[in-house]
């Protein structure tokens, strides 16, 4: 039986990495749950309400997007539309080249990872420096984030200290405060030199055209302090209808992501610097990125676009905890990634058709999701899609079900198999080359077969 890539990755993962991913996700999940249930009478109703708001956005994107475009323009921002990753990268480059800009500081944005913006800009001679500490470490290591909120959840401080030393950021020192201070000193200079500050947006209010950014390091605010140009990369699904919706969503986002009541910095940006303001970007560009989202919207898995990128599903997911984020081979790991990544892949869906199978369908992800996405249902729909489209990675490792279904629709044959199955009690099963049986027995004992015993008992009672 062909092995599942994620299962193999998990088996090969060094024990210390697994331990650090497990401890960190478990602790965040437990704090998150305690905080939500201590502070709100009915957190599950809040999740359902938030899910309803985001679902409303998805179902009205056709009218909400033109509305928010008009609002942003009225606020003085320029709005760009990028259908693909290439178009989004080209839009950023175009804006920079028009101003002769060569240096960018970047706040954390998953969509920039998705379109591989930093690599693209580097190829065009532009420095695009990550300012979120975790993303900065990922960048100097030429690594990839393994969690959407904590990009370096897979690294320990000794590895980070080694990277800093290699990158000329001082002699080896693995004291977290020293590491942070060194990064801060390095980045402060870069903020002052940058021409462009790039951010994402956690939410964009259609009502006011406000961009909402949350960080704990203040790096997005620094990224917009000195540079003359602000570029925001925004997935088209990031809208909320009204400013007042933010009260609910921000409360849920911070608690779900990091077990905080509110992130340390929450910024509301309603345009470039006005004539009366002394500082701030002179230009503000908002690039709305589609990159496969319209197709997701048209699919039967559109609920996944409600996602507000809190990472709670990966924190609670037993498979993520065992396998870690890199096992998913994509920018978005964990349960949300197992749905979103194969869908965003479009024609390359077959290359990721195994991801929806990396779940015991336990439902913990849905139970913690702040926008109540029915992730297990979506994983199941994608399993069905993989099977229908004949993706080899979807079939790998799963016992074929056709013969079983045939048996399960013919009661006489079924009953015969129940009795006949007893043979398994007398066979040297450990020697049988039946892949699913081998996979079971390698780590677990088989129970005793008692096929038909209950039916016999039931019939016997009827006679007495």
């Amino acid at each position: 039986m062909a092995k599942q890539l994620i299962d193999q990755f998990a088996a090969a993962l060094p024990a210390d990495k697994r331990a650090s991913v497990y401890q960190s996700t478990k602790s965040t999940h437990e704090k998150r749950t305690k905080m939500l249930f201590d502070q709100f009478a009915e957190p599950n109703r809040l999740r359902s309400l938030a899910g309803g708001i985001k679902q409303h956005v998805l179902e009205h994107l056709d009218t909400l997007l033109p509305e928010v475009e008009a609002k942003l323009q009225a606020n003085g921002a320029k709005v760009h539309w990028a259908a693909t990753a290439e178009a989004a990268c080209a839009a950023v480059l175009g804006i920079m080249q028009a101003r002769g800009a060569t240096k960018m500081v970047k706040a954390k944005t998953m969509v920039s990872e998705e379109i591989e913006l930093a690599h693209f800009l580097e190829k065009h001679g532009i420095e695009a420096l990550e300012t979120d500490l975790g993303e900065f470490i990922v960048q100097i290591d030429h690594d990839h984030p393994s969690h959407i909120v904590r990009p370096i959840i897979h690294k320990n401080r000794r590895e980070i200290a080694t990277s800093f030393e290699k990158h000329g950021l001082g002699a080896y020192n693995d004291d977290p405060q020293t590491i942070t201070r060194r990064a801060r000193e390095f980045l402060r200079q870069k903020y002052l030199q940058a021409d462009v500050g790039l951010t994402g947006a956690n939410f964009v209010s259609v009502e006011s055209g406000r961009l909402v950014l949350v960080t704990n390091e203040g790096n997005s605010r620094f990224s917009l302090a000195a540079p003359k140009v602000h570029i925001a990369l925004v997935g088209i699904e990031k809208l909320v209808p009204r400013d007042r919706d933010l009260g609910l969503l921000l409360n849920l986002l911070a608690r779900s992501a990091t077990a905080q009541q509110l992130t340390v910095y929450t910024e509301f940006i309603s345009g470039p610097k006005s004539a009366t303001q002394p500082d701030g970007p002179e230009e503000m560009h908002v690039i709305f990125v589609d990159n496969g989202r319209s197709e997701v919207l048209a699919s039967e898995c559109r609920e996944i676009l409600r996602c507000i990128r809190c990472g709670a599903c990966m924190n609670v997911c037993p498979v993520y905890r065992q396998a870690s984020g890199h096992a998913y081979r994509t920018v978005y790991p964990g349960p949300v990634g197992a749905v979103l990544s194969p869908l965003l892949a479009g024609k390359k869906f077959p290359e990721l058709a195994d991801l929806p199978k990396a779940s015991s369908l336990c439902g913990a992800c849905n139970e913690v999701c702040p926008v109540d996405i029915p992730i297990p249902d979506l994983l199941l729909r994608l399993r069905d899609k993989g099977k229908r489209e004949g993706a080899p990675l979807a079939a790998a490792g799963t016992p074929p079900m056709g013969a079983w279904a045939l048996l399960a629709t013919q009661p006489t044959a079924w009953k015969a198999a129940l009795f006949g199955g007893k043979i398994i009690n007398y066979l040297p099963t450990k020697l049988l080359p039946i892949p699913p049986l081998r996979a079971w027995e390698d780590t677990r004992d088989l129970p005793e077969w008692k096929g038909g015993e209950f039916r016999k008992w039931m019939k016997g009672r009827g006679k007495s």
Binding site: M1, I6, D7, Q8, A10, K26, V316, P318, V319, Q322, A323, P356, K357, A358, S359, S360, L361, C362, G363, A364, N366, E367, D377, L380, R381, R383, D384, K387, G397, T398, P399, M401, W404, A405, L406, L407, A408, T409, P411, W414, L418, G421, P436, A439, W440, T443, R444, D445, L446, P447, E448, W449, K450, G451, G452, E453, F454, R455, W457, M458
Partner: protein
């Protein structure tokens, strides 16, 4: 609630779906289910043609095969009486999974109608029949595994109500109860490494609570956990909650 829109229970005639796992392996769990239902005053019809709920194919991604098996269940469990299963997982397949697989099928309404009268056993006893306490004695410290397919249903609260009402039963708590045991149907053989690691974590938490036995409303989880424990040379005692109820009521 996954199973909120349910047909109200009016009589005490029920149909029993034993589940393929009890049909093939855990015969005593099916027997206990019969005795428990009868004790609650039910008359039981066991349709002989029954096979399986279709979940293995549904979870495995083969919805064409799953639909064939679900249709067989629809043909087998006719009438309007409640269908009772000693499994949260198979019940969830009937009242939730099957509807997903039939979204675009002409017979969706029949599949949904069957789902609306399908109950996991403990949920049925407490929330269907209104049983609030169980007679007898069962002196044991019991760790109750929260089978994942009972999330969003009334099954776990119902189970705790019944267990705690039995003389001698002490329900012991353990860590990370919301975490899956790692079985997950075909997941257990297609992701054997992750599945086994999940089982080991669950066993570690359970053992730390030092229960006399581990109980569940799903034998699939028990098959995985007891199989793992036995393989490691440290077997644990597992029971279905129906067996606990049956043994308790025979010990008055």
């Amino acid at each position: 609630m996954l199973n909120a829109e349910r047909k109200p229970v009016t009589g005490k005639k029920v149909q029993l779906m034993a589940t393929c796992l009890c049909d093939a392996i855990y015969a005593d769990v099916a027997k206990a289910t019969v005795e428990v239902l009868e004790h609650a005053g039910c008359t039981i019809d066991f349709p002989e043609g029954q096979t399986c709920c279709g979940q293995p194919a549904f979870n495995g991604g083969d919805w064409t095969a799953a639909r064939k098996v679900v249709r067989h269940a629809v043909r087998t469990f006719t009438g309007g009486d409640p269908v009772i299963l000693p499994s949260g997982s198979c019940a969830a397949m009937m009242f939730h999974g099957a509807s997903l697989a039939f979204e675009h099928e002409p017979d969706l309404a029949e599949v949904e109608a069957l789902g609306r009268r399908t109950w996991e056993l403990m949920d049925f006893l407490v929330n269907g029949l209104g049983v609030t306490s169980w007679p007898g004695r069962f002196p044991a410290k019991i760790a109750l595994h929260r089978a994942c397919h009972t999330r969003g249903t009334g099954s776990i609260a119902a189970t705790l109500t019944l267990l705690r009402s039995i003389q001698g039963v002490e329900v012991v708590e353990f860590g990370e109860v919301e975490q899956c045991c790692g079985f997950g149907g075909t997941f257990s053989v297609s992701f054997p490494n992750v599945s086994t690691a999940m089982g080991d974590l669950k066993l570690e938490h359970i053992r730390a609570a030092k229960p006399d036995l581990l109980a569940s409303v799903d034998m699939s989880c028990m098959m995985h956990l007891s199989g793992r424990a036995a393989h490691e040379g440290h077997p644990i005692k597992t029971m279905h909650v129906a067996q606990v109820l049956r043994d308790a009521m025979k010990n008055t």
